[in-house]
């Protein structure tokens, strides 16, 4: 087997490198810059060029990192390696490894619907496909992005009419950029929590045509005139910091908002189902598009999704334990240190 799963991560013995290792190794290919996939301490990093500055922002300037374009190939000990768009966040990539005709694709996190920022997902034919399963249950079939966007704008408008500020909560990397682009249509001033403002600036400097936002750190909030929009990461939700923006309405933006229980646990009145992960239908579409016969299901509802792939699609699917434990809401409880 070209790829094995061991206690440090997803390992390619022939090339002696890991994909998204969770313990320090010598050579690491990073699918994307989220903290559960891009860990510190590796000697050498390899990732998509758009992830380079994000990795440096998170892990420090000193890291040794090599960049690839999508589709560019390199060869290590006879293994051909290339990166392909995963559609998850800016710079996110599927990793394709080919050795003696055997093709593996490790998809990291992905979504099929285009968000207008990240390069859209491209299916890659392979024999072995490693897939996430964050939303691997039939209850997660997300509404159309256009519908959600329209709902969000209508809600921001309703808040504006009541002279209330709008607080939008989402991951600093990926989700926040989508929120800013959507909120920009409301033509209100947009402010962002420091973590988000840093990511935004980094991406703009890398050439992403995104809206500029003002960091809140330097603001005198009392001098601001409502209504305006603030983008904040999950860790800031319910904090005293957020209270400075009173009067406000707050919405949590995530695929988890599909369930009423999840929204109520967040103690927010509004939830918008806006996800950077594939939903139930997209997961199946993605798996089928690879025409792979061997599927390895990682983080999420892995047992359920693997069983479904075996029973319903007649594939050789197994669950694999990794440490990308995005499971349930736990990931979002963590502070995002960016």
């Amino acid at each position: 087997m070209l790829i094995t799963f061991n206690n440090k991560g997803i390992y390619c013995a022939q090339a002696d490198l890991y994909i998204d290792p969770w313990q320090p190794v010598s050579k690491a290919i990073i699918t994307h810059a989220h903290s559960d996939h891009a860990k510190p301490g590796n000697k050498h990093y390899l990732c998509h060029q758009d992830s380079v500055s994000l990795l440096k922002l998170r892990l420090g300037d000193q890291i040794s990192v090599q960049a690839l374009h999508y589709g560019q190939t390199i060869h290590i000990h006879g293994v051909t390696i290339s990166l392909h768009p995963a559609g998850h966040i800016p710079g996110s990539a599927q990793v394709k490894l080919t050795y003696k005709g055997e093709i593996w694709v490790i998809s990291g996190d992905y979504k099929l619907s285009s968000d207008g920022i990240a390069a859209p997902f491209e299916p890659v034919s392979c024999h072995h496909f490693v897939t996430e399963s964050t939303f691997g249950l039939p209850i997660y079939r997300f509404p159309q992005v256009d519908t959600v966007t329209a709902d969000m704008l209508a809600w921001i408008e309703a808040n504006r009419k009541q002279q209330k500020n709008t607080l939008l909560v989402g991951y600093a990397l990926g989700k926040a950029q989508r929120l800013i682009e959507i909120a920009a249509h409301a033509e209100l001033p947009i402010f962002a929590h420091g973590a988000i403002a840093n990511v935004q600036r980094t991406l703009i400097e890398s050439g992403y045509p995104l809206h500029r936002v003002m960091p809140t750190a330097t603001l005198d909030t009392k001098a601001l005139s409502s209504p305006y929009v603030v983008i904040l990461p999950p860790s800031a939700l319910g904090s005293t910091w957020a209270k400075r923006f009173t009067p406000y309405e707050v919405a949590y933006c995530s695929g988890w908002m599909q369930l009423r229980g999840a929204r109520r646990r967040k103690n927010v009145n509004r939830g918008f189902v806006l996800s950077d992960h594939a939903d139930w239908d997209q997961l199946q579409t993605a798996v089928q598009a690879t025409s792979a016969e061997n599927i390895y299901v990682t983080h999420g509802y892995k047992a359920t999704f693997a069983k479904w792939l075996v029973e319903h699609h007649g594939l050789q699917a197994t669950e694999v334990t990794t440490q990308y434990e995005n499971h349930l809401l736990l990931e979002e409880e963590k502070d995002e240190v960016i």
Partner: protein, 530 residues
């Protein structure tokens, strides 16, 4: 149903009472009266019952969504709510049709008479006609578990404002038996109340838990102190030689309590008494569990009537000689009550007056509270002598002061995901005590931990699972929690041999190891000491 669904969404998305009332008023003004009647009926928590067997509903949903049972169950355990699970799993609707709330209720009322296949077909057809966002509420209506985030009090407030009536009048009008199919909105809410409907109870006045030192209430001499009894709070109404017995949950329970029926002739017409219905024999109050065994029965055998005979301990008089006397002071009402109970016709009747506990200082009250348990009471009631009989739960004049509950340290043994807000978090716990070297489950508890603790325990459970039985996980017996409960009684239905009343978690005993938890012998001791 579009309007009703929109109301649901509005209420679901706000925590502001003012916004909720505003949304309700807007709805009542806009809705057709047939729909408004159903909305009121559902919102104040009147039960429609289940319209279809849950198993049939699942069957129909699985068939329509092409999901195997295991996957549907897996989904259900994640969502924690059947109506929501179904709404999320169904395919997109084919043609969207508009049905009003009353049309929907008429459709649902027709379901119970259909055989299994036809009922499933009818439901499936309706699902495919409903806009996706109305399916959740529709499913809630089918299961008979419909709840919206408004209290009855808020609905009353909104109706009072919509129809320009007092809240008390609306509360009174909404009491008792009425059904949207045979009650025009005019007679329910609008027409003048010419003649009182004779079976109508008054809204109950409820005490607030005492949340301060009693000294803060002023002079003890201004207060009546009674025992807080643990039975069924009820109203006995005698009007026109008829008796009606209502529970606080506004259920008409007349048929369940034949021992009170002779009162129809014995009590003067136009009498309404508020009190506690309790099992009582040979001068002693019997355990509450005895009343529970008979309350759910449709037919009462002679044996039940002799093992658990009931009395009412009377607290208050609301109507005297046909006059509503709720505005009189408690002292005046009580003296009228005493006069009635002293009538010679009532000798031997199952009515007793609630004892006033002689207390000349707050420390006497405190002592009475501490002794409550030996009188089968939950604590004491503090009622201001000058208080009128209000409606609903209000602060100020009536307080309940419960005894400090029993506590015991138990080991977490099993966990199961909760529902609603706690769906897919492990929040339903089973606790055990030691019996020699074995852990015996003795209580389930759901509440008492903070959100933060719930998250931590949830994570711990996922990491320390020994075994999974469906949704239930057994965990390594390490965590100790202090549980509080109000009462304890022997039970042959539980492995531990005891049953607890209102068990809940007081705190997580980080300081205790599992082997330091209490034992079954400790529990039996509490039982013996009662």
């Amino acid at each position: 149903m579009r309007l009703f669904n929109a109301l649901f969404q509005q209420i679901d998305r706000t925590t502001s009472t003012r916004d909720k009332v505003a949304a309700l008023i807007a709805y009542f003004k806009q809705a057709e009266s047939a729909d408004a009647l159903w909305a009121i009926y559902l919102l104040i928590g009147k039960s429609t019952g289940r319209f279809i067997k849950t198993a049939w509903l699942r069957q129909a949903a699985m068939r329509l969504s092409h999901l195997p049972p295991w996957l549907f169950e897996e989904s259900y355990h994640t969502v924690g709510d059947l109506a929501e699970t179904i709404a999320l799993c169904l395919p997109v609707p084919v043609t969207e049709k508009i049905y009003s709330l009353s049309q929907t209720m008429a459709f649902l009322n027709g379901l119970p008479s259909l055989p299994e296949q036809e009922a499933q077909t009818a439901i499936s057809q309706r699902w495919m006609e409903l806009p996706a966002d109305e399916r959740f509420i529709f499913n809630k209506l089918i299961t008979g578990n419909f709840r919206m985030g408004v209290s009855k009090q808020l609905v009353i407030r909104a109706l009072a404002e919509t129809y320009h009536k007092s809240e008390n009048e609306i509360a009174h009008r909404l009491m008792g038996h009425w059904h949207p199919n045979n009650t025009p909105i005019s007679s329910l809410l609008i027409d003048d109340l010419l003649h009182e409907k004779s079976f109508e109870p008054y809204p109950f006045f409820l005490a607030y838990p005492l949340d301060k030192e009693p000294v803060a209430l002023g002079e003890v001499a201004d207060w009546l102190i009674e025992r807080k009894l643990d039975g069924i709070r009820g109203q006995i109404i005698v009007r026109n030689q008829h008796i009606y017995i209502w529970s606080r949950g506004e259920e008409l329970l007349t048929d369940r309590f034949p021992e009170f029926h002779p009162l129809a002739e014995q009590l003067p017409n136009g009498t309404v008494i508020d009190g506690e219905i309790l099992p009582y024999k040979d001068g002693n109050i019997l355990p509450f569990s005895l009343i529970q065994t008979r309350i759910s029965r449709k037919r009462l055998s002679k044996q039940i009537l002799t093992t658990a005979p009931l009395v009412m301990i009377c607290y208050d008089l609301l109507e005297c000689d046909g006059a509503d006397i709720r505005a009189l002071s408690l002292i005046e009402r009580r003296s009228l009550l005493e006069k009635i109970l002293a009538l010679p016709e009532l000798s031997g009747a199952p009515l007793m007056i609630s004892k006033i506990l002689p207390c000349s200082s707050w420390s006497d009250v405190k002592q009475a509270r501490e002794q409550a348990r030996q009188y089968q009471a939950e604590g004491v009631m503090l009622k201001r002598k000058t208080s009128r009989y209000d409606s609903g739960r209000r602060r100020g004049n009536w307080w309940k002061w419960k005894i400090i509950p029993y506590t015991i340290d138990g080991v977490l043994l099993y966990a199961q995901p909760g529902h609603g807000r706690r769906a897919n978090l492990y929040t339903d716990y089973t606790f055990a005590v030691w019996d020699q070297d074995e852990l015996v489950p003795f209580a389930k508890a759901y509440s008492g931990l903070s959100d933060q603790e719930i998250m931590t325990v949830d994570r711990w459970i996922k990491q320390h699972t020994i075994n999974k039985f469906g949704p239930v996980r057994s965990v390594t017996p390490d965590l100790v929690f202090e549980l509080a409960f109000e009462g304890i009684s022997a039970s042959n239905r539980h492995k531990s041999g005891i049953a607890l009343r209102f068990p809940r978690i007081v705190r997580w005993r980080h300081d205790k190891a599992a082997k330091e938890a209490n034992t079954k012998a400790d529990l039996l001791n509490l039982l013996d000491n009662k």
